[in-house]
């Protein structure tokens, strides 16, 4: 029941390709008709080969020529049909993948933060490929298979009803067996799929951090964990593989029974003279052709099993809850002046661990807000909330006096330039990365942005300058250089508000001085939130938010806070205590 609805859903993706589906159906019918007509002709030819000195060669030549034409035409239609099914399959699979990808861009960040990336990846890549395999064999073989079965019955009926009755009687047996096996292998395939997902996650973790693993000599321990999963995969894999592989021999056996039955009954009829030898040979070849689709269908069903198991996992992504859409009356924020106000904001990642509670503060346009506090005090969370990566549980955040819940996410986010501690670059050229916010930016603007981020000089020293490819894991440039590129990326777009999260932590101090100057210029006239460790930055801040355990415990300017002699003063002085 569950599986049929899965299948129906999977097939609904082929709807846009209905014309080709129709063409494929017609071509399939033509192919099958022609293919089935050939044995009739062959049977007639064989009847002409009656015995010694009784062969009619003139009639035989004519029939043989007919066979040639029929077979040639069948080949052509078969090829054309394949073209149609190919098209349907690959376009459908592309659409499914796009759908999953689109969903990933609309899920709340929580989804991506809490699901192992390796697992999502294996759904979008491996599982979808499995769907392609399943669909392709489904279309090419299931299609012709069913048509062949129907047509064969028709052809057989026209020759001999009793033999046909026998063949039709045995048919359900074959289907029953195939279905039985499919039902039992489905759960095993799912188990295999799940174990694979788990394994991919472990591999991503270990191989992705191989250097670290080696630095601690943890190779053996990780290998043991891997072995454990590997063994589990082996156990369920053997079962899945064997069960699905049972289908073929079993149906082949039943086919043998059909063949034998036809042979026997046919022989009895022939002995009585009710059937010619040629017709019997035609029947035998039908018995083969009739049962062949059963062979294939059961093979296809095995493929469909894994395709459905894959589809189930992909649909889980496609069905994931989306973030609440922008309100219909949500406005597009343009040229924000930069008044930001938090009032009574509460938020936590999980209901059982309170984090931010009743947080209020406000920033005037152009102000520099420094967020300081001990590690893990909720600074990064504040950014998640400002950018609406996560939605608040209580209270409200206003920008230019407008509740951010009523501003489109895209326009809200584009109003902020963000440099995170966790540097992320795309695989692509340096130029592509800097121009990420505006791919149409001309080269001059890219260079200008790089210059203002003080990245230009190192970029020029790279092997291909601005056209140097950055590898996926960014291992060909240093951490500091990555950060400079991230800064350049923001420099190019230069939105009205800025979020800088410990942005300069891995840049050497000489470069940092220059970056700091660029920042000062950049932040002038722009409301900026800076999660900073540099007291120089903090000292110049218009407002310092001192956070501890998710609460703002002090706020004010540097001098006031120092004079107050509270938490901030302690924090500040501790720097000199080294």
């Amino acid at each position: 029941m569950k599986r049929t609805s899965l299948l129906r859903r999977l097939l609904s993706f082929t709807r846009p390709h209905l014309p080709y589906l129709g063409a494929a159906l017609i071509l399939a019918c033509a192919t099958v008709g022609l293919t089935l007509y050939a044995p009739v002709l062959t049977g007639r030819a064989i009847d002409l080969v009656a015995g010694k000195d009784a062969v009619d060669f003139t009639a035989m030549k004519k029939i043989l020529a007919q066979i040639g034409i029929v077979v040639g035409a069948a080949a052509l239609t078969q090829w054309l049909m394949s073209l149609c099914t190919n098209r349907i399959t690959y376009l459908t699979v592309r659409d499914i993948r796009l759908k999953a990808f689109e969903k990933l861009q609309n899920v709340p960040l929580r989804f991506i933060d809490t699901h192992p990336h390796g697992d999502i990846l294996s759904r979008v890549i491996t599982d979808v490929e499995q769907i392609a395999d399943g669909l392709l064999s489904g279309f090419t073989q299931l299609f012709t298979g069913i048509v062949t079965i129907a047509a064969t019955i028709g052809f057989m009926l026209s020759v001999n009803g009793k033999i046909t009755a026998f063949v039709v009687f045995v048919t359900p047996l074959s289907l029953f067996v195939a279905n039985f096996i499919a039902k039992h292998s489905f759960s095993m395939f799912r188990q295999q799929s799940e174990t694979r997902g788990e394994m991919t996650a472990l591999i991503e973790e270990t191989v992705g951090n191989m250097k670290l693993v080696k630095a601690f000599g943890r190779e053996k321990e990780q290998a043991e964990k891997f072995d454990d999963l590997n063994r589990r995969l082996q156990n369920c894999g053997v079962k899945a593989l064997f069960f699905s592989a049972m289908t073929n021999p079993c149906t082949r056996f039943l086919n043998g029974i059909v063949y034998t039955g036809v042979c026997l009954i046919g022989a009895v009829f022939a002995a009585a003279g009710a059937l010619t030898v040629g017709q019997l040979s035609c029947f035998l070849s039908y018995a083969n052709q009739y049962t062949k689709p059963f062979n294939e269908i059961s093979g296809v069903i095995a493929e469909l099993q894994s395709a459905l198991a894959g589809a189930k996992r992909v649909f889980e992504i496609i069905d994931a809850d989306e973030q609440t859409p922008d309100a219909p009356d949500a406005v597009v924020l343009t040229d924000a002046a930069g008044t930001v106000a938090f009032s009574g904001v509460s938020f936590s990642y999980s209901p059982d661990a309170k984090l931010i509670e009743d947080l209020s503060f406000s920033a005037e346009p152009g102000q520099k807000i420094a967020i300081v506090g001990t590690t893990g005090c909720g600074k990064t969370t504040l950014i998640n909330l400002l950018m609406r990566f996560y939605d608040i549980d209580k209270g409200r955040i206003d920008i230019d006096g407008r509740n951010t819940q009523n501003i489109t996410r895209d326009s809200l986010r584009s109003s902020f330039g963000m440099v995170l501690q966790d540097t992320w670059l795309k695989a692509g050229t340096v130029r592509d990365n800097i121009a990420y916010g505006d791919p149409d930016a001309d080269f001059e603007r890219v260079v200008a942005a790089a210059k203002s981020a003080h990245a230009d000089s190192f970029i020029r020293k790279l092997p291909q300058g601005y056209d140097t490819e950055i590898s996926e894991d960014g291992s060909n440039i240093s951490q500091g250089q990555k950060q400079l590129l991230c800064i350049a990326r923001v420099m190019l777009a230069l939105p009205p508000m800025l979020i800088l999260d410990e942005a300069t932590s891995s840049i050497d101090t000489l470069t940092e001085i220059r970056v700091q100057k660029a920042f000062d210029e950049m932040t002038r006239g722009r409301t900026s939130f800076i999660v900073a460790h540099r007291l120089s930055t903090i000292r110049q801040a218009d407002l310092i938010l001192v956070m501890d355990k998710g609460r703002i415990i002090e706020q004010g300017r540097h001098d006031d806070l120092m004079a107050k002699g509270g938490f901030y003063a302690d924090l500040h002085n501790s720097q000199f205590s080294v």
């Binding site: 009656a50 191989m210 042979c263 101090t509």
Partner: protein, 575 residues
């Protein structure tokens, strides 16, 4: 594929039994047409129903035997294939963990991951099919040929002519399709890359509101993939029609030549039918074989990619147990060491010499790309110098056994990474037998005890993959504690306080210095504040040592160091 054949060695039995039973099954199948011939020539011609029934019973018997053989074969094939996959995976995983840092840099981690997952799966599927079909198809083809010759030599020549033609067509089409699969795999890798990027970079992508841009690129790449798959499919789709045309031409030939033979009285009608049946069997076997070739080539391409990883050299083993550590030597000596990364002409470190006595604290400072991390990586022998020698307690680090070396050194990398598991699992990396007290001590030095204590499960608190449920600073403190457990002789903090605020960082350094008296500590940093109180400061500039000494001396005599200090004077008084 052959390069991976050794992984089947534990499954020799399965690899023999599987095909053997397939062979038996094929034999039974080959007898069937002969029985049909008997039924026609004897049973029908003479109206001998008893004979027909007898032959029918024989056919059913053959069917049952065939089923039994086939199931046996499938079972052993599944067992061998999964076994093969399991062994390859285990070996590949271990091999990857033995690769040197240079090789990992070179091939890239994402590729390693795909090869360990998808490629091994493909190869495994290939083995399964191979065992099941690779021998069965030739059995049937050759067997049918032989049977044809025993029935009638003249007509059998039609078989001899047709079979190679089918073979050539199959070969031609496969040769065309094969390269397509390579391109398809490359595009699929790109699809995979884009997906991964959109997961890891989700914040930046959303911050720039680039979702539609990303969707566009993903959709283009998927479209490209679709095109490539379709054009490969178009060629592959030629296979069935082409072979069926040839086989039917052969059937025409058989009926015609057979007709001549029957006319001459050398052949019976039943035997002509048997011959036609044999031709059909050959066709079915060859088509299965062609499918097999396609699957196998995919598998072979994957196997090749797996074999490439196996071909990567593992870290050279230069360990020498005879050489022992010596007393009276400085803890660590760099003797004229130079190093260049693979594929780089510019050395990352040049002529570096210094020595560090046990128990001292060494600060390493310098700009981005000055070689700080490289220097650290050389100490732990992640890379090997191209010139010069590094000795640890008087023994060349190259001569150390890996475990011995790793036991001596605790390292805190720049990027804080934790693994899925409990806090305890993550902390006992260096010392499996560490007691809870040991762990708490390490945590308190690393300033991480309070936040762990605040968790309900304490040391058993669960850490998600990549430490997703912890903040950057929490992760960093745990990685520091991890390096401290088991009391290493050398502790390396590679710019590892970047996610910590000043206060925590300062307390951390104080604690490290206070509680680890005989530990030699390397502190790599950009901040003067972090290194200024070190016993020894190494100033690096563009891969060279620009100065060695104490803070005051260096400030006095080393221009590079002074510049760095002055550049940070905003933050604090320079000297």
């Amino acid at each position: 594929m052959l390069k991976l054949a050794r992984f089947l060695s534990a499954y020799k039995k399965e690899c023999v039994i599987g095909p053997l039973f397939k062979f038996l099954e094929a034999c039974f199948e080959l007898i069937v047409p002969l029985i049909t011939a008997v039924i026609i020539d004897k049973g029908i011609k003479t109206g001998d129903t008893a004979c027909i029934a007898r032959m029918g019973a024989v056919m059913v018997g053959l069917g049952v035997l065939g089923l039994a053989c086939s199931l046996t074969a499938q079972y052993f094939a599944a067992k061998a294939a999964m076994g093969f996959g399991t062994e390859v995976r285990a070996a590949l995983f271990r091999h990857i963990s033995k690769l040197s840092y240079s090789e990992i840099d070179d091939i890239g981690m994402p590729t390693l991951i795909t090869r360990l997952t998808e490629d091994v799966n493909q190869a495994q599927a290939g083995v399964n099919r191979l065992i099941r079909l690779f021998l069965r198809s030739p059995f049937i083809v050759v067997g049918a040929l032989i049977m044809a010759f025993t029935v009638d030599t003249e007509t059998a020549f039609v078989f001899l002519a047709a079979t190679p033609v089918i073979g050539i067509v199959i070969w031609f089409i496969t040769a065309k399709v094969l390269p397509c699969y390579k391109t398809i795999q490359a595009v699929l890798d790109r699809v995979s890359l884009l997906t991964r990027e959109n997961l890891t970079g989700v914040r930046v992508i959303r911050a720039f509101s680039k979702q539609s841009f990303e969707r566009q690129r993903f959709s283009e790449t998927c479209g490209d993939l679709c095109e490539k798959q379709r054009s490969a499919g178009q060629i592959a789709a030629l296979l069935n029609p082409a072979t069926s045309v040839i086989v039917n031409a052969a059937v025409i030939g058989i009926v015609f030549v057979g007709g001549l033979q029957v006319d001459a009285g050398r052949l019976s009608q039943g035997e002509v039918i048997a011959l036609v049946n044999y031709m059909t069997q050959i066709l079915i076997a060859l088509i299965a074989f062609a499918d097999l070739i396609v699957i196998t080539t995919k598998a072979a391409a994957s196997a090749e990619r797996v074999a490439e990883v196996f071909a990567l050299p593992t870290e050279p083993d230069e360990t020498d147990k005879t050489e022992t550590t010596k007393t009276g030597y400085p803890r660590l000596v760099f003797d004229d060491v130079s190093f260049a990364y693979k594929h780089s002409d510019v050395p990352a470190l040049r002529d570096v010499s210094f020595s560090v006595p046990a128990g001292s604290t060494v600060g390493v400072i310098g700009g981005t790309g000055s070689g700080k991390s490289t220097l650290i990586n050389l100490i732990a022998r992640f890379y090997r110098p191209i010139k010069g020698k590094i000795t640890l307690d008087g023994k060349d680090v190259r001569k150390y056994e890996t475990e011995e070396l790793r036991r001596k050194i605790g390292i805190v990398p720049q990027k804080a990474a934790l693994f899925k598991g409990t806090v305890r699992d993550n902390l006992t990396w260096r010392d499996k037998n560490a007691t809870d007290d040991d762990l708490w001590t390490a945590l308190s030095i690393a300033q991480g005890d309070s936040f762990i204590r605040s968790r309900k499960d304490g040391l058993d608190a669960v850490i998600e993959q990549n430490g997703r449920n912890l903040s950057g600073g929490q992760k960093q403190r745990l990685t520091i504690a991890r390096a401290l457990v088991g009391k290493p002789e050398i502790l390396i903090l590679d710019d590892s306080a970047s996610a910590l605020d000043y206060a925590t960082d300062a307390r951390l350094r104080k604690a490290v210095r206070g509680e680890t008296k005989d530990m030699t500590v390397f502190i790599v940093s950009q901040r003067v504040a972090a290194v200024r109180n070190s016993d020894l400061i190494l100033v690096l500039d563009d891969g060279r040592i620009a100065g060695i000494g104490k803070h005051e001396d260096l400030f006095e005599n080393c221009p590079v160091y002074r510049d760095i200090c002055l550049s940070q004077s905003n933050d604090k008084e320079a000297a």
